[in-house]
């Protein structure tokens, strides 16, 4: 979830109105964002929608708010001017980082605040929308230092040296990846590449090494600069184009004129791409989705406040929006502009029959019986530790569902049994008064080769000075008897239990439970110093 910070006062001048904190909070709802922090004039906004990156700057937010407040409606105008130059794309980039878009913006001298905002937007777009620069990376430059046209190509890692930002000497591209902080941070993006992308100008000055770093000589904006060159490179054509449009609109809001750049590629394009997409709007669908009867005028009003344009039939989409995939996306905005607070809820009257999963009845009956037996119910995490499941239980490790990218060994597999979880719990509760009688019902996941399935298990542990085999067998028989199941008890060899004091209950040829006196070596592993008996029952097998 991206978070951006900006000056409230500056924002008010963009919107053209004073805004109270409550005004702000209300308006941010429309942007699917919320006020995170306010410290003096600084406010931080958090976005829940990752799909509308044009809002991730105060300028974009101001475009929407001006519409909602009725100060300026319809698709905003961009101050366009003559061409800013051209970028020539070499075929070599197609395998590495195929796409680029750019433009030049000319306007008032840059302030320190505006440079900060520009860098913030650049970072949010590259990080949150561009998947940590892999999909999209952005560079901004003082345009006066650049001699067009610019070439976008790849070179061998050691074939070229330049002075990157925040470095003391010239480095080769390979050295940048090894030594420069940004190089180390983003080298994973280029890990498989034999050649690296580079931007150079007509005088062969390096502008940047995308997606890693700009040149110190040509790639650092300073306070007072009036002309800015913007470029976005990446693996998504629509992504780089969208970023160019978003930044162009942001600068346009600040009084800059936009000078498009011609990108000479397999197909030549001029960026920012400002062509308007058009959708036919079916009014019946509005009623179907929102439940609102809206006149054409009302529809038009809501759409233009949301910065669309509407002629009674067709909707034109502002170029900075790429999230419209279906008419429903437009219809949602009509609903939002109408105001969720203004929508009267309706009850659903259709009668349907409620029911729990079929296994719930038996599960709950058994849980009640366990409480009747004097046991305390436990509810644990399903994620567990293989060491607990096998080693501590004195068992040989068998196949199970393990997590590849776990953060802590304690939560690195899905449990296969519940018994070990209850035993480990007892070892943590020596301060509580004995006897310890606990039970848990829940899911476990078993795996055999490439097959895996979930099962409902019930485990009980009783730990006190006189716990013995008879007690646990009585419990198992009590539960199975109450379920009205006929079963046979057979001796069982299980290394978690004392040999000759472990048994299994069979229903037909299905082993539905095993139980007995826990082996002292296992008790020692769990630091339990009381005789302990336990059982685990496979409820799914009983139900099957």
């Amino acid at each position: 979830m991206p978070v951006i910070t900006f000056s409230k006062k500056d924002f008010e001048s963009l919107v053209g109105r004073k805004l109270s904190i409550n005004d702000l909070k209300d308006l941010l709802d429309y942007a699917k964002a919320e006020l995170e922090v306010q410290e003096g004039d600084n406010i931080s906004v958090k976005y829940n929608d990752t799909n509308q990156p044009y809002l991730w700057c105060p300028e974009g937010l101001a475009i929407l708010f001006k519409g909602l407040l009725g100060k300026e409606t319809g698709i905003p105008k961009l101050a366009l001017s003559s061409s800013g130059g051209q970028i020539v794309v070499d075929r070599s980039v197609k395998k590495v980082r195929p796409f680029i878009a750019g433009f030049v913006a000319k306007g008032p001298p840059l302030s320190d605040y505006l440079i900060k905002l520009l860098i913030q937007l650049q970072e949010k777009l590259a990080d949150s929308f561009g998947r940590h620069r892999d999909n999209i990376a952005i560079g901004v430059y003082p345009a006066d230092k650049i001699n067009f046209s610019v070439a976008y190509k790849t070179v061998k890692p050691d074939s070229l040296k330049f002075l990157p930002l925040d470095a003391e000497r010239e480095l080769s591209l390979a050295q940048i990846l090894e030594q420069h902080p940004k190089g180390k941070e983003y080298s994973w993006i280029l890990a498989k590449e034999k050649e690296y992308p580079i931007l150079v100008d007509a005088k062969n000055q390096v502008l940047s090494f995308p997606p890693i770093i700009n040149s110190q000589t040509t790639g650092r904006l300073s306070v007072g600069d009036k002309n800015i060159f913007f470029e976005a490179t990446g693996k998504s054509s629509s992504g780089v184009d969208l970023c160019a449009v978003i930044v162009a609109y942001a600068l346009s809001m600040r009084g800059y004129t936009i000078h498009p750049v011609t990108v000479k590629d397999e197909k030549t394009k001029t960026t920012p791409l400002l062509a308007l997409e058009q959708w036919k709007l079916n009014k019946v669908l509005i009623q179907k989705r929102l439940g609102l009867e809206l006149s054409e005028k009302e529809i038009g009003n809501h759409l233009t406040r949301f910065r669309y344009e509407y002629d009674g039939k067709n909707v034109k989409i502002p170029p900075y929006r790429q999230d419209i995939m279906h008419e429903y996306d437009i219809i949602e905005d009509i609903g939002i502009a109408y105001g969720y607070n203004n929508i009267t809820p309706l009850k659903i009257h259709t009668h349907t029959r409620g029911a729990a999963l079929p296994e719930i009845q038996m599960i709950n009956s058994l849980r009640d019986l366990c409480v009747g037996l004097g046991c305390q119910e436990v509810f644990s995490q399903i994620l567990s530790d293989p060491n607990l499941m096998w080693d501590k239980m004195g068992l040989k490790k068998q196949s199970m569902i393990e997590i590849e990218n776990f953060t802590s060994a304690t939560y690195s597999c899905v449990r296969t049994l519940i018994l070990p979880i209850l035993l480990s719990m007892l070892s943590q509760n020596r301060q509580a008064e004995a006897p310890y009688k606990v039970f848990e019902e829940g899911l476990v996941t078993l795996r055999e080769g490439t097959d895996y399935h979930d099962e409902h298990h019930l485990a009980i542990v009783s730990s006190h000075a006189t716990a013995n085999f008879t007690e646990i067998r009585q419990i198992v028989e009590y539960l199975l008897d109450r379920l009205g199941i006929s079963y046979t008890i057979k001796p069982e060899e299980h290394s978690s239990f004392i040999s000759g004091r472990c048994a299994a209950a069979f229903v037909g040829n299905k082993k539905v439970a095993f139980f007995g006196e826990i082996h002292p070596a296992v008790l020692q592993n769990f630091n339990i110093d009381l005789p302990t008996v336990g059982m685990e029952m496979n409820l799914s097998l009983i139900l099957a």
Binding site: N51, F129, I331, N405
Partner: protein, 505 residues
């Protein structure tokens, strides 16, 4: 204290107190009380403490001198004093040869010497030297001890340790003389517990209630014999604390979730479920979350080490691939969609339900499912948590119905009358909405998210586009509010005391 109160007090005495109290006089040693009352040490001590609490007696603990028996003293107490063995030989003859005497008394030379000295000094014997050897003869005074005890013998009959201050002058002299002999007696400092009766105690002892017998425990015997008709019951102090007990009990959060299930059933919802180990396909792709999109970053999934890929129905994969490629404009990776992970959202179950041949239209479904996300575990985050989610499948449902449903949920599940609905974003719903409820202390609290499933979700799974209202409630958070917990980990507490003491909602 008025007479009735004294009677009342007497009637409420515990049997142990009744037995001990009459023997408490002035600084009566504890040992005496034990001996006279016939109680065991622990019983007598408990009785005295209770009596002291009631203001009937005062307990003292003084450091005092005690006479203790040495090794020989214990032996002599059990057997006989050497003097007695010596005297026993005189039974027949009053005048004997020393040689004969010491061998018949079974004494060694040392003992013989001591005994002779002591008895001579006490004027029990006379010693004379004659030709045939040393002759020992009982004096007249000495003859009287053939029938009665020597002072030292009487002394040893006391029970030890013996309080020195309780001895009379004569006894003190005996003590001194015994102390001169090896290993018979010694004097040591030790703690002396004693008790004195207080005025109120005396009143109680003298009260008539102490004289009538009372029934302590109501036994089958008492009922059979009808004794209770003649006697009074001892009155208990019913205000006294009793030890706490712990019975079998349901886990607090599990019980809360049972209630949630009941509620959904009563509202006409059918329960649905799905596997813990899911494919990318059901967890995200079927929900129109593009394979490359940053929206996936918030679903930081746990991936399965082995097997890496699951099995899928190609029919659904094909249909989902098509809407992804049309909507998101990228090449859908039909291999990546098989990747196995631990379910990150309960909505995966809703997707499976839509694709199930058992689905009913109209139909209402809910699930209470475990979900897993890679997270650092703290007071507000778990890697293993619950989601409650569901769908309503019915032609003609609109955003207004969704709002009606959410209003009802807020009231039913969180007891909230006042709610706020805010535009939200989920890749699988359009429109999307977030539900907030007003909490009396905490203000606006997010309860969950909801929306109408996109056609890109419904059509590939169900085969046609029907209105599907979908919602998810952060049930763990509501559980915390209801159970008064501030740490989400306490929902799954492993502390037995916490579990035993947890409030039942």
């Amino acid at each position: 204290m008025p007479k009735e109160s004294v009677q009342e007090l007497a009637a409420s005495l515990h049997p142990l107190e009744r037995k001990a109290l009459p023997f408490v006089v002035q600084k009566t040693p504890f040992a005496d009380i034990v001996r006279k009352s016939g109680l065991k040490d622990v019983e007598a001590m408990r009785a005295l403490q209770w009596l002291q609490n009631k203001g009937l007696v005062q307990i003292y603990q003084d450091i005092e001198e005690f006479v203790v028996l040495g090794v020989l003293g214990q032996k002599y107490k059990k057997e006989k004093l050497p003097e007695r063995k010596f005297l026993d030989v005189f039974e027949k003859d009053k005048k004997l040869l020393l040689k004969y005497l010491s061998s018949n008394a079974g004494l060694d030379a040392n003992e013989t010497n001591t005994v002779m000295g002591k008895l001579k000094q006490a004027n029990v014997i006379n010693i004379s030297k004659e030709q045939i050897g040393i002759i020992v003869e009982l004096t007249d005074f000495g003859k009287s001890f053939l029938k009665k005890k020597l002072p030292a013998e009487s002394f040893l009959e006391n029970s030890f340790p013996l309080l020195v201050t309780s001895l009379n002058r004569e006894e003190k002299e005996i003590l001194q003389s015994l102390q001169k002999r090896k290993d018979i007696v010694g004097v040591e400092l030790a703690k002396q517990v004693s008790a004195s009766i207080l005025p109120l105690g005396r009143q109680v002892v003298e009260s008539s209630a102490m004289k009538t017998e009372v029934i302590d425990a109501l036994t089958p015997q008492v009922l059979r014999t009808g004794d209770w008709q003649k006697k009074n019951f001892r009155k208990y102090d019913v205000t006294v604390n009793v030890p706490k007990i712990f019975a079998g009990k349901h886990q607090h959060y599990r019980k809360f979730l049972d209630g949630i299930r009941e509620k959904f059933m009563s509202l006409g919802f059918m329960e649905m479920t799905g596997p813990i180990v899911e494919t990318d396909f059901w967890d995200m792709d079927a929900l129109f979350m593009p394979q490359f999109h940053s929206a996936r970053d918030i679903h930081d999934a746990y991936f399965v080490k082995e097997p890496k890929k699951g099995k899928l129905d190609e029919k659904f994969v094909k249909a989902v691939k098509k809407v992804h490629e049309q909507g998101w404009k990228y090449d859908f990776n039909a291999e990546q969609t098989k990747r196995l992970l631990l379910r990150t959202q309960g909505t995966a179950c809703s997707a499976r339900m839509l694709a199930s041949p058992d689905i009913r239209i109209p139909g209402k479904y809910f699930g209470i499912t475990r979900c897993f996300r890679k997270d650092v575990i703290d007071a507000t985050h778990l890697a293993d948590f619950h989601q409650t989610e569901g769908i309503i499948v019915e032609e003609g449902l609109t955003l207004r119905h969704l709002f009606g449903l959410l209003q009802m949920f807020a009231k039913e599940f969180a007891g909230a009358e006042e709610i706020k609905l805010v535009p939200g974003y989920f890749p699988f719903t359009e429109p999307s909405v977030e539900l907030y409820a007003k909490h009396p202390q905490l203000g606006w609290v997010e309860l969950g998210g909801a929306g109408i499933f996109r056609s890109e979700v419904v059509a590939p799974l169900l085969g046609r586009d029907v209105s599907v209202i979908a919602w998810g409630i952060g049930i763990d958070r509501i559980g915390m509010f209801r159970l008064g917990l501030s740490d989400v980990r306490d929902l799954f507490s492993r502390n037995l005391n916490t579990l035993r003491n947890a409030k039942v909602v």
